[in-house]
Structures are given as structure tokens and as C-alpha cells.
Amino acid sequence: MHQAPQTPKIAELSWSGTPSGATYTYSMSVDQQTSSFVTVSSGTDITLSRGHYYAIAYIDFTRTASTTNNEIYWHLDGSQIGMRGGSDHYQNESNDNPEATFSVDSSATLTLRQTAWSGSAITLTSHCKAFIWRVDK
């Protein structure tokens, strides 16, 4: 079905937190957005309305040992989605960002979670930013 071209909406968020265990949900805060479509509740839950989305969380960290590695995924309504991110791409010598594309029929909650670790947490810096793109569905 043909759809008229539409303007994408973009939100910039900061994410932060210090995991104390293997699993952890990061805190999110909205820095700015091109038009209001994202809200955060309970400090961690990104509320999204009907639409098509792309989300990416850029990582930036320090750590006390090069063996300290964390694995991070986006979760939609509690279910893991998209591509794995983390430090050292979780023990494989590179850094990568969790990314996901998804659609929402009515409303949904998006969270960013650590899903595994090497036994301790990396230290996130203020340069950890997430960007969420939205177009109408």
C-alpha cells in the first residue's frame, strides 16, 4: 500500500546506571526530541505509541580490567529484541551498540538492559546516548 512520505521523529536520551548483578535495567532520561513522542516512567521505562521504530544505544565506558565485559540488549514489553551490544562485543575484542527495529500496534514499553556480565560492571560515562527514530504506522 502506498504511503505518503513522512517526516521521521527523533529522540535523544541519556542512559546510565551501575549494575550490581548480571541483569540490570538502565535508567533513561530524555535530552531532546524533534517532536514529543517519547516519555520515560519509573526512571527506566520508555513509553512508545503506535508506530515503526529504530532504536540504538551508543556505549561509552571505562573499566578496571580489560576482561570486564557486559552484554546489553533492548527489550520491548519485556522481550529481548534486536542486536547485541556491549563492551568488547561481550568478550570478543570490540565495542558495539544494541540496536533494534520494531513496530508498535498501540503502545509498548521499551527498556535497555544488561543481560550478562563477566562478574563486574563497566563504568558508563556521560557519553552513553540512545537515539530513537519513529515514523507513523
Binding site: 517526516t7 561509552d60 575484542e93 551498540n97 546516548k129
Partner: protein, 161 residues
């Protein structure tokens, strides 16, 4: 020219900026000398200009910028970090990019893209990509073995708010 059918359905212009200078000596504070703009989707590049690497973003739009550098490291511990800045205030915009050797584990890390969102709906905004920290780097946009490294570049999305 368009990337794909889905991008033809998005109301945005996409272009990239590059820097013609080669073998650039850099230190903290060095401004990446962007001086070229090339259309990928749409034809917005003619409205862009740069002076000493400071890019003037035309008024009336939101922008998303993703910038990264190319560097030749002097050794495996080399790194360079860079971030977009508002030229009028020198304040940071968005998040920094970090370039390190993939094969060399460090006690710091991050994605290579410096990314920011800029609101220029009320007036043009001058921005720059500046080196935040650098060590063990021979030069940026280095021509040695360039065939495997690409060049300094920035992707710019221009979006109507």
C-alpha cells in the same frame, strides 16, 4: 539519488561531509577540517558551507550528525576521541566517538561515531567536530595504506521539525 525505497518515503535530506586535507597533525582541540558536502538523498548539499572545519547548519530544520575520523596509529595503544561542539559556546553536543584498535583491549571504549541532534529550527547553528583527546597517533586522514581505512567523514540528516 536514493539509498532505497524506504528512504524515498522519508521526508529528509541526507548528505555526507568530508575533508580534503591529508596527513593532518592533531592534538586535543583540533577541529576536523570538513570542507566538502555531497548529496546521498535529496539535494541539500548546496546549502551547506564550512570555514576552517566549522559547519554552518542552515536554519529551519533539525539535524542528526554522525561523524568519525580516520587515523594511523603509531602503535597498538593509539586512540583518538572526538565530539561535536556548538562553535558559538564551545559546548559539547551529543556523544563522543572513540577510535581504538579493535584488536587492542583498552580500559576505555565506545562506538566510533560522534552523534548529535541539533535544533536549528529558530536559526542557523555553527558546529564543529573537535578532537577531545588523542595519543599515539601519527596523523588523521593518513595516506599510508589508506585503501583499507576510508577517510574522515560525517553523515548529516536534515529533517523538517
Amino acid at each position: 539519488m536514493s539509498y532505497s525505497l524506504i528512504q524515498r518515503r522519508i521526508k529528509a535530506s541526507i548528505l555526507y561531509a568530508d575533508a580534503s586535507a591529508r596527513n593532518i597533525s592533531a592534538s586535543a582541540g583540533t577541529v576536523i577540517p570538513f570542507d566538502g558536502f555531497h548529496d546521498l538523498v535529496g539535494s541539500a548539499s548546496a546549502g551547506f558551507s564550512a570555514s576552517s572545519g566549522v559547519i554552518s547548519l542552515p536554519a529551519g530544520y533539525w539535524y542528526v550528525l554522525k561523524g568519525s575520523v580516520q587515523a594511523r596509529f603509531a602503535d597498538r595503544s593509539g586512540h583518538v576521541k572526538y565530539i561535536w561542539k556548538d562553535d558559538s559556546t564551545n559546548s559539547d553536543l551529543g556523544r563522543r566517538g572513540t577510535l581504538i584498535m579493535q584488536e587492542q583491549s583498552q580500559l576505555f571504549g565506545g562506538d566510533e561515531f560522534a552523534v548529535c541532534v541539533v535544533d536549528a529550527t529558530a536559526g542557523s547553528v555553527d558546529i564543529k567536530l573537535a578532537v577531545e583527546s588523542i595519543a599515539n597517533v601519527t596523523s588523521l586522514n593518513n595516506t599510508t595504506d589508506q585503501r583499507v581505512a576510508g577517510w574522515i567523514r560525517a553523515e548529516i540528516w536534515r529533517i523538517t521539525g
